[in-house]
Symmetry: none
């Protein structure tokens, strides 16, 4: 039995409330040896006081050394082992732009490319055309009609777009048409299961039309499709944990992942941490579980802007009393992965985590930071174990065995 099935077996209804506060990419690293991390440099009196009365520790998102994308990072936070529950790239791309994917939709990631007079690819990214140029071509492609299915074409960024097919009996079991090199023609869409034959035919028909439409518009005069996928039909979070579950997030990607596991998406007015915490307050009675997503810790880390990331953390800290005032039975603060300004990217480094609950065992940790949390009572843990711990401290799990 896997862990999610175990949770579904053991979970019971209760009146307790759980808040999972995710500061995206909050984990950091010193810019120079011996220096502070972003969290350690930030002035966080509220988080520190909370840490002092919480169980603290460090949590590895996936497995040691592995850096997660946003999809797997959040699945792990929700208790879904990302090595077991995979989300196809096309679906992630659609989620990332906030497209409301239906359970039977097939989504693919598209790249505009450049082909020569013989149809051979000369640039797999069409000279990295601007998003504006991408959008113009996407609007042309929206005119393509396919028999029996609806098509959606959405610009993503630069030379990237998303293609969604909606209809009965579609399948995502189709190989990429991107040959991953130049000097050759784009591949046809080929099904790797009989169930996908019709979808592959439709895709090829769409590609043929698209090629005709794009021909007069170099450098983006052709396209490739990758990562055909359908909604992976994950076990639903509210069913597994028996909680009315809300996602409070500003960015499309995170709303998308929450929607994929069946959480309600609560609209937020404004986009500051204070706005998000107020949204939680306003919806407090309607839900048992709140996932709150703070984006800008990650974006400032990806920009390599140590000070900006410190500032975002301090903004969260300032707004924290709103959340604490609600007296959640279990409050967890952590991130989906680290994003050290030093690396300007997601990283594999474990994240500081604190768990506040009446039933939490204390420790000597009095600050919320990477080094301080090393000696915490949660020890070194894995993200997939966060929800089981939260459920336990919310007294929402029955005994295993008699």
């Amino acid at each position: 039995m896997n862990q999610l099935q175990l949770m579904q077996d053991l979970s019971i209804k209760a009146t307790t409330k759980i808040v999972l506060l995710v500061m995206d990419g909050v984990g950091g690293a010193p810019m120079a040896p011996g220096g502070p991390t972003e969290l350690e440099a930030a002035r966080t009196p509220n988080l520190d006081a909370l840490a002092a009365r919480s169980a603290c520790g460090l949590s590895t998102a996936i497995v040691p050394g592995v850096t997660p994308g946003s999809g797997p990072g959040h699945l792990a936070l929700f208790g879904y082992d990302p090595l077991q529950y995979e989300i196809g790239r096309g679906v992630l791309e659609a989620l990332g732009i906030g497209f409301e994917l239906q359970p039977t939709d097939v989504a693919a990631r598209g790249n505009f490319c450049t082909v020569d007079a013989n149809g051979l690819i000369t640039d797999r990214r069409a000279g990295r055309i601007s998003t504006e140029e991408c959008t113009k071509r996407v609007e042309l492609l929206r005119n393509i009609k396919l028999p029996g299915v609806q098509t959606f074409v959405e610009p993503v960024k630069d030379y990237r777009f998303a293609l969604i097919l909606r209809g009965e009996g579609l399948s995502g079991e189709i190989h990429d048409t991107d040959p991953q090199k130049t000097g050759v023609a784009p591949l046809p869409a080929v099904a790797y299961s009989p169930a996908a034959e019709r979808t592959a035919q439709l895709a090829n028909q769409w590609i043929a039309e698209a090629a005709r439409i794009l021909a007069p518009h170099p450098p983006a005069n052709m396209l490739t499709l990758r990562g055909f996928a359908v909604d992976p039909n994950l076990p639903k979070f509210p069913t597994v944990y028996k909680m009315r579950s809300a996602a409070v997030a500003v960015y499309p990607m995170y709303k998308g992942v929450a929607r994929l596991v069946g959480m309600d998406i609560v609209p937020v007015e404004g986009e500051s941490p204070a706005d998000e915490f107020n949204t939680v307050r306003q919806n407090w009675d309607k839900y048992d579980f709140f996932f709150i997503h703070i984006k800008k810790t990650d974006s400032s880390g990806e920009d390599g802007n140590f000070d900006a990331k410190v500032h975002v953390i301090e903004t969260v800290d300032e707004a924290l009393p709103t959340l604490l005032g609600l007296n959640p039975d279990v409050l967890i603060v952590t991130g989906d992965h680290s994003t050290p300004a030093l690396l300007k990217s997601h990283s594999w480094h474990p994240l500081p985590i604190l768990l506040s609950a009446r039933t939490a065992r204390g420790d000597k940790v009095t600050a919320f930071g990477e080094t301080a949390c090393l000696s915490g009572s949660l020890g070194h843990m894995r993200h997939v174990d966060i929800m089981p711990l939260a459920m336990a401290h919310a007294l929402r799990l029955t005994k295993f065995g008699a």
Copy 2:
């Protein structure tokens, strides 16, 4: 997906260099309660200074309580789960004596034994004859010819030898001929898969010849064969990690395990730690990854000689500046398993580990020892996670998922 497949999927080429310094059996234990371990008793200013600027921790070789042999201990260090990737005993025996096994060779471990006039075993170890006596009989056995295959017989130690069959279509799927008790005759070689029928026939033919040759030479007047095995054809380290990989080792067993995973074996002039580090320096530009094996920490531990082991550790520490001077992007220092002089044998105790890299998070550890490393930022980890961490810090892994 297993971890090694995950590494192969995520690994990318880069120009960074990784050094894995393995002091065999370096982990120890106090000779009396409250005393220092070998590492703690050793004067190691260079290792301590390195620990102070590194991420430190403790690593369990296999799983808690399990003491590894040299084969599994090293496989784990290389990122191969030894519970999943097993190496047959015959192959380990051949590796241990430095026999250059070919991919299709079948190797078995042989024991000389004593049989009575009725052919029943009276001593399974032939009175533990000397290696010299063993060698004399091995030379006689080398005269046995088999149709269509080459045979190699090599003395190992005391009553033990190795038999290797080389040819087309051989298989190691053959039961042991050692009945594991006295008063009975050695068993015939029996295939447990149809593919091994011919190999079993050849083995029986060889055994019959050997019995005839050995009859006049008691107490070693017969033999048994165990652990028939072929090269397990492990995924190759340079392919999985996309690194040009070198093993710098003095003893045959460790070169053998490294060869089994496809590393290049770099010849070492001399056999001191300083000689090995100089070899790394001379080959620095040719490889991305260096595995350095120091043997004598283990041998002195197995002798129960605490002071000798302390001295070996100090020799490594003195030579360390040569290695540090190369400025590897990632340097890891640990061992394959513990060998406390107290136990005079390998043990299950976790090993101190340090990881030095620009991206490593610091901690408060300022000495390289079992107790000091307890509070390190690597926490308590497993050997199989060492390579993923090394790869991450060398920026040689891409993100998992989008």
